[in-house]
Protein backbone atom coordinates (compact mmCIF):
# COMPACT_ATOMS: atom_id res chain seq x y z
CA UNK A 1 0.00 0.00 0.00
CA UNK A 2 1.35 3.41 -0.92
CA UNK A 3 1.82 5.51 2.20
CA UNK A 4 -0.31 8.61 2.37
CA UNK A 5 1.54 11.90 2.22
CA UNK A 6 -1.00 14.59 2.94
CA UNK A 7 -0.04 18.24 2.52
CA UNK A 8 -1.42 21.50 3.83
CA UNK A 9 -2.95 22.04 0.40
CA UNK A 10 -4.38 18.54 0.25
CA UNK A 11 -4.85 17.39 3.84
CA UNK A 12 -6.03 13.95 4.83
CA UNK A 13 -9.81 14.03 5.07
CA UNK A 14 -10.72 10.43 5.78
CA UNK A 15 -12.17 9.04 8.98
CA UNK A 16 -10.07 6.89 11.30
CA UNK A 17 -12.31 4.65 13.35
CA UNK A 18 -9.99 3.52 16.12
CA UNK A 19 -6.44 3.13 17.37
CA UNK A 20 -5.76 0.14 15.12
CA UNK A 21 -6.71 2.10 12.03
CA UNK A 22 -4.62 5.03 13.25
CA UNK A 23 -1.60 2.77 13.61
CA UNK A 24 -2.21 1.28 10.17
CA UNK A 25 -2.20 4.78 8.73
CA UNK A 26 1.33 5.32 10.03
CA UNK A 27 3.46 6.66 12.84
CA UNK A 28 3.00 10.26 11.75
CA UNK A 29 -0.77 10.06 12.11
CA UNK A 30 -0.42 8.48 15.56
CA UNK A 31 2.03 11.23 16.50
CA UNK A 32 -0.38 13.94 15.34
CA UNK A 33 -3.41 12.56 17.15
CA UNK A 34 -1.27 11.56 20.13
CA UNK A 35 0.20 15.02 20.64
CA UNK A 36 -3.23 16.63 20.79
CA UNK A 37 -4.60 13.94 23.10
CA UNK A 38 -1.58 14.08 25.41
CA UNK A 39 -1.85 17.85 25.63
CA UNK A 40 -5.44 17.51 26.80
CA UNK A 41 -4.48 14.77 29.29
CA UNK A 42 -2.01 17.13 30.95
CA UNK A 43 -3.93 20.34 30.73
CA UNK A 44 -7.30 19.06 31.91
CA UNK A 45 -5.60 17.71 35.01
CA UNK A 46 -3.61 20.89 35.57
CA UNK A 47 -6.77 22.98 35.13
CA UNK A 48 -8.66 20.93 37.70
CA UNK A 49 -5.79 21.13 40.19
CA UNK A 50 -4.76 24.77 39.69
CA UNK A 51 -8.12 26.43 39.12
CA UNK A 52 -11.09 24.28 40.06
CA UNK A 53 -10.07 22.60 43.29
CA UNK A 54 -8.89 25.83 44.95
CA UNK A 55 -12.15 27.49 43.87
CA UNK A 56 -14.16 25.12 46.08
CA UNK A 57 -12.63 26.77 49.13
CA UNK A 58 -12.96 30.29 47.70
CA UNK A 59 -16.68 29.98 46.94
CA UNK A 60 -18.69 32.62 48.84
CA UNK A 61 -21.66 30.37 49.65
CA UNK A 62 -22.97 26.82 49.52
CA UNK A 63 -24.41 26.97 46.00
CA UNK A 64 -21.17 28.16 44.47
CA UNK A 65 -19.20 25.68 46.54
CA UNK A 66 -21.21 22.76 45.17
CA UNK A 67 -21.06 24.09 41.63
CA UNK A 68 -17.29 24.46 41.87
CA UNK A 69 -17.11 20.92 43.21
CA UNK A 70 -19.10 19.53 40.30
CA UNK A 71 -17.02 21.50 37.80
CA UNK A 72 -13.76 20.27 39.36
CA UNK A 73 -14.98 16.69 39.09
CA UNK A 74 -15.97 17.19 35.47
CA UNK A 75 -12.59 18.63 34.54
CA UNK A 76 -10.85 15.73 36.30
CA UNK A 77 -13.18 13.40 34.41
CA UNK A 78 -12.11 15.01 31.13
CA UNK A 79 -8.48 14.32 32.03
CA UNK A 80 -9.32 10.65 32.58
CA UNK A 81 -11.29 10.35 29.35
CA UNK A 82 -8.39 11.75 27.35
CA UNK A 83 -6.09 9.40 29.29
CA UNK A 84 -8.13 6.47 28.06
CA UNK A 85 -7.68 7.61 24.46
CA UNK A 86 -3.95 7.97 25.09
CA UNK A 87 -3.70 4.43 26.41
CA UNK A 88 -5.69 3.03 23.49
CA UNK A 89 -3.33 4.78 21.11
CA UNK A 90 -0.32 3.35 22.95
CA UNK A 91 1.19 6.67 23.98
CA UNK A 92 4.13 6.17 26.33
CA UNK A 93 3.39 8.62 29.14
CA UNK A 94 0.95 11.34 28.19
CA UNK A 95 1.55 13.16 31.46
CA UNK A 96 5.27 13.57 30.80
CA UNK A 97 5.19 16.63 28.52
CA UNK A 98 5.12 20.29 29.44
CA UNK A 99 2.10 21.97 31.05
CA UNK A 100 0.81 25.08 29.30
CA UNK A 101 2.03 28.33 30.80
CA UNK A 102 -1.56 29.34 31.49
CA UNK A 103 -1.48 26.88 34.38
CA UNK A 104 1.44 28.65 36.01
CA UNK A 105 -1.07 30.65 37.96
CA UNK A 106 -2.29 31.20 41.48
CA UNK A 107 -6.03 31.59 41.86
CA UNK A 108 -6.65 34.37 44.36
CA UNK A 109 -10.36 35.14 44.56
CA UNK A 110 -13.82 33.92 43.65
CA UNK A 111 -14.39 36.73 41.08
CA UNK A 112 -11.19 35.63 39.42
CA UNK A 113 -12.50 32.07 39.19
CA UNK A 114 -15.75 33.29 37.64
CA UNK A 115 -13.86 35.23 34.96
CA UNK A 116 -11.51 32.33 34.48
CA UNK A 117 -14.37 29.97 33.70
CA UNK A 118 -15.85 32.51 31.28
CA UNK A 119 -12.57 33.15 29.48
CA UNK A 120 -10.15 30.24 29.89
CA UNK A 121 -12.86 27.65 29.40
CA UNK A 122 -13.98 29.54 26.32
CA UNK A 123 -10.54 28.82 24.89
CA UNK A 124 -11.17 25.16 25.65
CA UNK A 125 -14.52 25.37 23.87
CA UNK A 126 -12.86 26.89 20.78
CA UNK A 127 -10.33 24.05 20.70
CA UNK A 128 -12.90 21.32 21.31
CA UNK A 129 -15.23 22.66 18.65
CA UNK A 130 -12.39 22.22 16.19
CA UNK A 131 -11.71 18.68 17.41
CA UNK A 132 -15.36 17.76 17.02
CA UNK A 133 -14.72 17.52 13.28
CA UNK A 134 -11.27 15.89 13.38
CA UNK A 135 -10.38 12.81 11.38
CA UNK A 136 -9.67 10.60 14.41
CA UNK A 137 -13.15 9.49 15.38
CA UNK A 138 -12.47 8.55 19.03
CA UNK A 139 -11.13 12.07 19.56
CA UNK A 140 -13.96 13.60 17.57
CA UNK A 141 -16.55 11.69 19.57
CA UNK A 142 -14.95 12.56 22.90
CA UNK A 143 -14.77 16.26 22.05
CA UNK A 144 -18.43 16.18 21.00
CA UNK A 145 -19.36 14.48 24.27
CA UNK A 146 -17.41 16.90 26.45
CA UNK A 147 -18.45 20.12 24.73
CA UNK A 148 -21.77 20.50 26.61
CA UNK A 149 -19.91 20.34 29.93
CA UNK A 150 -17.32 22.87 28.79
CA UNK A 151 -20.07 25.15 27.56
CA UNK A 152 -21.80 24.84 30.92
CA UNK A 153 -18.58 25.93 32.63
CA UNK A 154 -18.39 28.97 30.36
CA UNK A 155 -22.04 29.87 30.93
CA UNK A 156 -21.54 29.50 34.69
CA UNK A 157 -18.49 31.79 34.51
CA UNK A 158 -20.34 34.36 32.43
CA UNK A 159 -23.36 34.36 34.72
CA UNK A 160 -21.30 34.80 37.85
CA UNK A 161 -19.05 37.43 36.22
CA UNK A 162 -22.11 39.45 35.22
CA UNK A 163 -23.49 39.27 38.76
CA UNK A 164 -20.15 40.27 40.25
CA UNK A 165 -19.47 43.16 37.89
CA UNK A 166 -22.78 44.67 39.00
CA UNK A 167 -21.51 44.69 42.59
CA UNK A 168 -19.36 47.81 43.18
CA UNK A 169 -17.20 45.92 45.68
CA UNK A 170 -16.43 43.05 43.30
CA UNK A 171 -16.32 44.94 39.97
CA UNK A 172 -12.64 45.96 40.30
CA UNK A 173 -11.69 42.33 40.92
CA UNK A 174 -13.55 41.29 37.78
CA UNK A 175 -11.82 43.98 35.72
CA UNK A 176 -8.44 42.98 37.14
CA UNK A 177 -9.10 39.32 36.35
CA UNK A 178 -9.99 40.17 32.75
CA UNK A 179 -6.75 42.15 32.41
CA UNK A 180 -4.78 39.27 33.83
CA UNK A 181 -6.50 36.30 32.24
CA UNK A 182 -6.95 37.30 28.61
CA UNK A 183 -3.21 37.58 27.90
CA UNK A 184 -2.55 34.44 29.94
CA UNK A 185 -4.96 32.47 27.80
CA UNK A 186 -3.46 33.31 24.41
CA UNK A 187 -0.55 30.80 24.59
CA UNK A 188 -3.19 28.10 25.00
CA UNK A 189 -3.46 28.03 21.20
CA UNK A 190 0.24 27.49 20.48
CA UNK A 191 2.84 29.50 18.60
CA UNK A 192 2.08 31.36 15.40
CA UNK A 193 4.77 29.42 13.59
CA UNK A 194 4.23 25.83 14.63
CA UNK A 195 5.44 22.63 13.06
CA UNK A 196 3.00 20.76 15.29
CA UNK A 197 0.04 22.74 13.97
CA UNK A 198 1.12 21.96 10.40
CA UNK A 199 1.30 18.29 11.28
CA UNK A 200 -2.19 18.44 12.82
CA UNK A 201 -3.63 20.20 9.78
CA UNK A 202 -1.99 17.87 7.26
CA UNK A 203 -3.66 14.94 9.00
CA UNK A 204 -6.99 16.61 9.61
CA UNK A 205 -6.68 16.54 13.38
CA UNK A 206 -7.09 20.31 13.22
CA UNK A 207 -8.28 22.55 10.43
CA UNK A 208 -7.24 26.00 11.66
CA UNK A 209 -3.88 27.60 12.22
CA UNK A 210 -3.07 28.48 15.81
CA UNK A 211 -3.53 32.14 14.95
CA UNK A 212 -6.96 31.46 13.43
CA UNK A 213 -8.08 29.75 16.64
CA UNK A 214 -6.57 32.51 18.76
CA UNK A 215 -8.37 35.11 16.66
CA UNK A 216 -11.67 33.27 17.14
CA UNK A 217 -11.08 33.22 20.90
CA UNK A 218 -10.21 36.92 20.97
CA UNK A 219 -13.35 37.77 18.99
CA UNK A 220 -15.63 35.74 21.25
CA UNK A 221 -14.08 36.76 24.56
CA UNK A 222 -13.98 40.40 23.49
CA UNK A 223 -17.71 40.30 22.74
CA UNK A 224 -18.36 39.05 26.25
CA UNK A 225 -15.99 41.43 28.02
CA UNK A 226 -16.95 44.57 26.14
CA UNK A 227 -20.60 44.03 25.22
CA UNK A 228 -21.79 42.10 28.28
CA UNK A 229 -19.46 43.02 31.13
CA UNK A 230 -18.98 46.57 29.86
CA UNK A 231 -15.26 46.42 30.56
CA UNK A 232 -12.29 47.31 28.39
CA UNK A 233 -10.60 44.43 26.59
CA UNK A 234 -6.83 44.17 27.04
CA UNK A 235 -4.73 45.12 24.03
CA UNK A 236 -3.60 41.79 22.66
CA UNK A 237 -2.48 40.54 19.29
CA UNK A 238 -3.33 37.43 17.34
CA UNK A 239 0.30 36.41 16.96
CA UNK A 240 2.22 34.64 19.69
CA UNK A 241 5.80 33.45 19.35
CA UNK A 242 6.55 32.41 22.89
CA UNK A 243 7.06 34.41 26.05
CA UNK A 244 4.47 36.59 27.75
CA UNK A 245 1.49 37.34 25.48
Amino acid sequence: MTPLTPTLEQPFNGEVADAEEAKALGAEYVRAAGKVIASHVRNELAGAAVFDEPAIALAPGPKDKWLACRIAMEEYGHHLKFTKLAIELGLDDPTAGPILSVFDYELRSWPEFAVLKAIVDLAEVVLMEELSSCTYLPLRNLATTLLPEERFHVSFGKRRSLELVADPAAAPLVAEAVERLVPFTLPFFGRSVSANNELFRRWGIKTHTNDDSRAAFIRRSQRFVVDELGLPFPEVGVRWDGGPA
Binding site: K65, W66, L67, Y76
Partner: protein, 230 residues
Amino acid sequence: MSPFTALESWYAVDLAGRDLATGRDPSSGGAASPAGALAAAPVVTWPPAVLSAGGRRRRLGAALGAGGDAVEQLLDRLVARPSATALDVASLATATPTGPADLPLSVVGLAEGVARSAGVDPSWLAAVDQRRAAARPLLVAAGRSEELEAALHVAMLVATEVLDPVADADVDAHIASGAQLWLLGAAVAWALAAGGTDHPFAPWAELVSAGLWPVGPSCGQLVVAVVAPR
Protein backbone atom coordinates in the same frame (compact mmCIF):
# COMPACT_ATOMS: atom_id res chain seq x y z
CA MET B 1 3.32 -1.66 53.92
CA SER B 2 0.42 -3.09 52.04
CA PRO B 3 -0.26 -6.79 52.67
CA PHE B 4 0.25 -7.21 48.94
CA THR B 5 3.96 -7.03 48.53
CA ALA B 6 5.51 -5.09 45.71
CA LEU B 7 7.79 -6.66 43.12
CA GLU B 8 4.70 -7.73 41.26
CA SER B 9 2.68 -5.76 38.72
CA TRP B 10 -0.95 -5.11 39.47
CA TYR B 11 -3.72 -4.19 37.06
CA ALA B 12 -7.17 -2.75 37.60
CA VAL B 13 -9.60 -5.12 35.89
CA ASP B 14 -13.28 -5.69 35.31
CA LEU B 15 -15.33 -8.71 36.35
CA ALA B 16 -14.03 -10.70 33.40
CA GLY B 17 -10.43 -9.88 34.26
CA ARG B 18 -9.92 -7.42 31.40
CA ASP B 19 -7.68 -4.40 31.95
CA LEU B 20 -9.95 -1.42 32.64
CA ALA B 21 -7.69 0.84 30.60
CA THR B 22 -7.58 -1.25 27.45
CA GLY B 23 -10.49 -3.69 27.60
CA ARG B 24 -7.99 -6.47 26.91
CA ASP B 25 -6.11 -8.99 29.00
CA PRO B 26 -3.53 -7.22 31.17
CA SER B 27 -0.16 -7.21 29.46
CA SER B 28 2.41 -4.43 29.71
CA GLY B 29 2.76 -1.78 32.40
CA GLY B 30 0.96 -2.35 35.63
CA ALA B 31 1.42 -0.75 39.03
CA ALA B 32 3.54 -1.72 42.00
CA SER B 33 0.55 -2.12 44.31
CA PRO B 34 -3.19 -2.87 44.11
CA ALA B 35 -4.01 0.71 45.18
CA GLY B 36 -1.63 2.09 42.58
CA ALA B 37 -3.36 0.07 39.88
CA LEU B 38 -6.78 1.36 40.92
CA ALA B 39 -5.55 4.97 41.05
CA ALA B 40 -4.24 4.69 37.49
CA ALA B 41 -7.45 3.34 35.95
CA PRO B 42 -8.91 5.91 33.54
CA VAL B 43 -12.34 4.27 33.65
CA VAL B 44 -14.15 1.94 35.99
CA THR B 45 -16.78 -0.66 35.33
CA TRP B 46 -18.56 -1.78 38.44
CA PRO B 47 -17.32 -3.63 40.41
CA PRO B 48 -13.63 -3.20 39.71
CA ALA B 49 -10.97 -5.54 41.01
CA VAL B 50 -7.21 -5.89 40.78
CA LEU B 51 -5.22 -8.69 39.28
CA SER B 52 -1.53 -9.38 39.73
CA ALA B 53 0.76 -10.51 36.96
CA GLY B 54 0.97 -13.77 38.90
CA GLY B 55 -2.79 -14.26 38.71
CA ARG B 56 -3.80 -13.16 42.23
CA ARG B 57 -7.16 -11.42 42.21
CA ARG B 58 -8.50 -9.01 44.87
CA ARG B 59 -11.86 -7.29 45.14
CA LEU B 60 -11.92 -3.51 45.46
CA GLY B 61 -12.50 -3.70 49.21
CA ALA B 62 -9.58 -6.01 49.79
CA ALA B 63 -7.33 -3.95 47.55
CA LEU B 64 -8.00 -0.86 49.68
CA GLY B 65 -7.25 -2.57 52.99
CA ALA B 66 -8.95 -1.63 56.29
CA GLY B 67 -12.26 0.08 55.60
CA GLY B 68 -12.09 -0.96 51.96
CA ASP B 69 -15.15 -3.18 52.30
CA ALA B 70 -17.14 -0.22 53.61
CA VAL B 71 -16.04 1.82 50.60
CA GLU B 72 -17.02 -0.97 48.26
CA GLN B 73 -20.44 -1.34 49.94
CA LEU B 74 -21.02 2.40 49.80
CA LEU B 75 -20.27 2.55 46.09
CA ASP B 76 -22.23 -0.62 45.46
CA ARG B 77 -25.31 1.06 46.93
CA LEU B 78 -24.66 4.18 44.92
CA VAL B 79 -24.59 2.16 41.70
CA ALA B 80 -27.70 0.18 42.72
CA ARG B 81 -29.56 3.42 43.65
CA PRO B 82 -31.88 1.95 46.30
CA SER B 83 -35.29 3.54 46.64
CA ALA B 84 -35.49 6.29 49.25
CA THR B 85 -38.76 4.78 50.49
CA ALA B 86 -36.74 1.85 51.86
CA LEU B 87 -34.76 4.20 54.12
CA ASP B 88 -35.54 5.79 57.44
CA VAL B 89 -34.84 9.22 56.03
CA ALA B 90 -35.57 11.07 59.27
CA SER B 91 -33.09 9.04 61.31
CA LEU B 92 -30.38 9.27 58.69
CA ALA B 93 -30.89 12.98 58.02
CA THR B 94 -30.76 14.03 61.66
CA ALA B 95 -27.46 12.16 62.10
CA THR B 96 -25.54 15.02 60.51
CA PRO B 97 -21.75 14.95 60.07
CA THR B 98 -21.39 17.36 63.00
CA GLY B 99 -23.66 15.35 65.30
CA PRO B 100 -27.39 14.81 65.93
CA ALA B 101 -29.66 17.67 64.83
CA ASP B 102 -32.85 18.14 66.81
CA LEU B 103 -34.80 19.87 64.04
CA PRO B 104 -37.97 19.07 62.13
CA LEU B 105 -37.31 17.37 58.80
CA SER B 106 -38.34 19.09 55.59
CA VAL B 107 -38.14 16.96 52.43
CA VAL B 108 -38.36 19.21 49.39
CA GLY B 109 -37.90 19.15 45.63
CA LEU B 110 -34.63 20.03 43.93
CA ALA B 111 -35.39 23.67 43.16
CA GLU B 112 -36.53 24.37 46.72
CA GLY B 113 -33.54 22.51 48.11
CA VAL B 114 -31.21 24.75 46.11
CA ALA B 115 -33.08 27.83 47.24
CA ARG B 116 -32.91 26.75 50.87
CA SER B 117 -29.24 25.87 50.67
CA ALA B 118 -28.67 29.63 50.65
CA GLY B 119 -30.05 29.68 54.20
CA VAL B 120 -27.65 27.08 55.57
CA ASP B 121 -25.66 28.49 58.47
CA PRO B 122 -22.12 29.17 57.18
CA SER B 123 -20.57 28.27 60.55
CA TRP B 124 -22.31 24.88 60.47
CA LEU B 125 -21.08 24.31 56.93
CA ALA B 126 -17.57 25.27 57.99
CA ALA B 127 -17.79 22.71 60.80
CA VAL B 128 -18.82 20.03 58.28
CA ASP B 129 -15.94 21.07 56.06
CA GLN B 130 -13.55 20.76 58.97
CA ARG B 131 -14.90 17.31 59.88
CA ARG B 132 -14.65 16.32 56.23
CA ALA B 133 -11.00 17.36 56.02
CA ALA B 134 -10.07 15.53 59.23
CA ALA B 135 -9.96 12.08 57.63
CA ARG B 136 -7.06 12.79 55.31
CA PRO B 137 -4.39 13.55 57.95
CA LEU B 138 -5.40 10.43 59.85
CA LEU B 139 -4.81 8.30 56.78
CA VAL B 140 -1.61 10.09 55.83
CA ALA B 141 -0.26 9.57 59.35
CA ALA B 142 -1.12 5.88 59.06
CA GLY B 143 0.84 5.63 55.79
CA ARG B 144 -2.31 5.03 53.76
CA SER B 145 -2.17 7.94 51.30
CA GLU B 146 -2.03 5.61 48.35
CA GLU B 147 -5.16 3.74 49.43
CA LEU B 148 -6.94 7.06 50.04
CA GLU B 149 -6.10 8.35 46.56
CA ALA B 150 -7.18 5.07 45.00
CA ALA B 151 -10.47 5.01 46.91
CA LEU B 152 -11.29 8.62 46.04
CA HIS B 153 -10.28 8.10 42.42
CA VAL B 154 -12.54 5.07 42.00
CA ALA B 155 -15.35 6.73 43.95
CA MET B 156 -15.26 9.83 41.81
CA LEU B 157 -15.12 7.83 38.58
CA VAL B 158 -18.23 5.96 39.66
CA ALA B 159 -20.07 8.83 41.32
CA THR B 160 -19.45 11.50 38.70
CA GLU B 161 -21.32 9.31 36.21
CA VAL B 162 -24.07 8.11 38.56
CA LEU B 163 -24.72 11.66 39.76
CA ASP B 164 -24.37 13.23 36.32
CA PRO B 165 -27.06 15.90 35.86
CA VAL B 166 -29.57 14.75 33.26
CA ALA B 167 -29.60 18.12 31.52
CA ASP B 168 -26.24 19.72 30.77
CA ALA B 169 -27.57 23.23 31.36
CA ASP B 170 -29.52 22.50 34.56
CA VAL B 171 -27.79 24.65 37.17
CA ASP B 172 -29.79 23.29 40.11
CA ALA B 173 -28.91 19.71 39.19
CA HIS B 174 -25.22 20.66 39.01
CA ILE B 175 -25.39 22.25 42.45
CA ALA B 176 -26.98 19.14 43.94
CA SER B 177 -24.55 16.85 42.17
CA GLY B 178 -21.59 18.86 43.42
CA ALA B 179 -22.89 18.71 46.98
CA GLN B 180 -23.47 14.96 46.75
CA LEU B 181 -19.98 14.39 45.35
CA TRP B 182 -18.52 16.48 48.16
CA LEU B 183 -20.33 14.39 50.78
CA LEU B 184 -19.44 11.10 49.11
CA GLY B 185 -15.77 12.03 48.99
CA ALA B 186 -15.90 12.65 52.71
CA ALA B 187 -17.70 9.36 53.33
CA VAL B 188 -15.11 7.42 51.35
CA ALA B 189 -12.18 9.00 53.18
CA TRP B 190 -13.84 8.45 56.54
CA ALA B 191 -14.72 4.83 55.76
CA LEU B 192 -11.02 4.16 55.22
CA ALA B 193 -9.94 6.16 58.25
CA ALA B 194 -12.53 4.59 60.55
CA GLY B 195 -12.03 1.14 59.07
CA GLY B 196 -15.77 0.65 58.55
CA THR B 197 -19.14 2.37 58.60
CA ASP B 198 -19.01 3.99 62.06
CA HIS B 199 -18.08 7.50 60.98
CA PRO B 200 -19.68 10.97 60.74
CA PHE B 201 -20.59 10.87 57.05
CA ALA B 202 -22.04 7.34 56.82
CA PRO B 203 -25.73 8.27 57.40
CA TRP B 204 -25.70 11.07 54.84
CA ALA B 205 -23.90 8.86 52.32
CA GLU B 206 -26.87 6.49 52.61
CA LEU B 207 -29.18 9.34 51.65
CA VAL B 208 -27.02 10.32 48.70
CA SER B 209 -27.03 6.73 47.44
CA ALA B 210 -30.81 6.85 47.35
CA GLY B 211 -30.88 10.00 45.24
CA LEU B 212 -31.33 12.44 48.12
CA TRP B 213 -29.31 15.51 48.95
CA PRO B 214 -29.07 16.32 52.67
CA VAL B 215 -28.82 20.09 52.42
CA GLY B 216 -28.50 20.75 56.14
CA PRO B 217 -30.12 22.99 58.75
CA SER B 218 -31.83 25.94 57.12
CA CYS B 219 -34.29 28.34 58.75
CA GLY B 220 -35.05 26.05 61.68
CA GLN B 221 -35.56 22.90 59.64
CA LEU B 222 -33.35 20.08 58.51
CA VAL B 223 -33.70 20.18 54.72
CA VAL B 224 -33.35 17.14 52.48
CA ALA B 225 -33.87 17.56 48.72
CA VAL B 226 -35.10 14.84 46.40
CA VAL B 227 -32.69 14.91 43.46
CA ALA B 228 -33.55 11.74 41.61
CA PRO B 229 -37.00 10.41 42.49
CA ARG B 230 -37.32 6.62 42.23
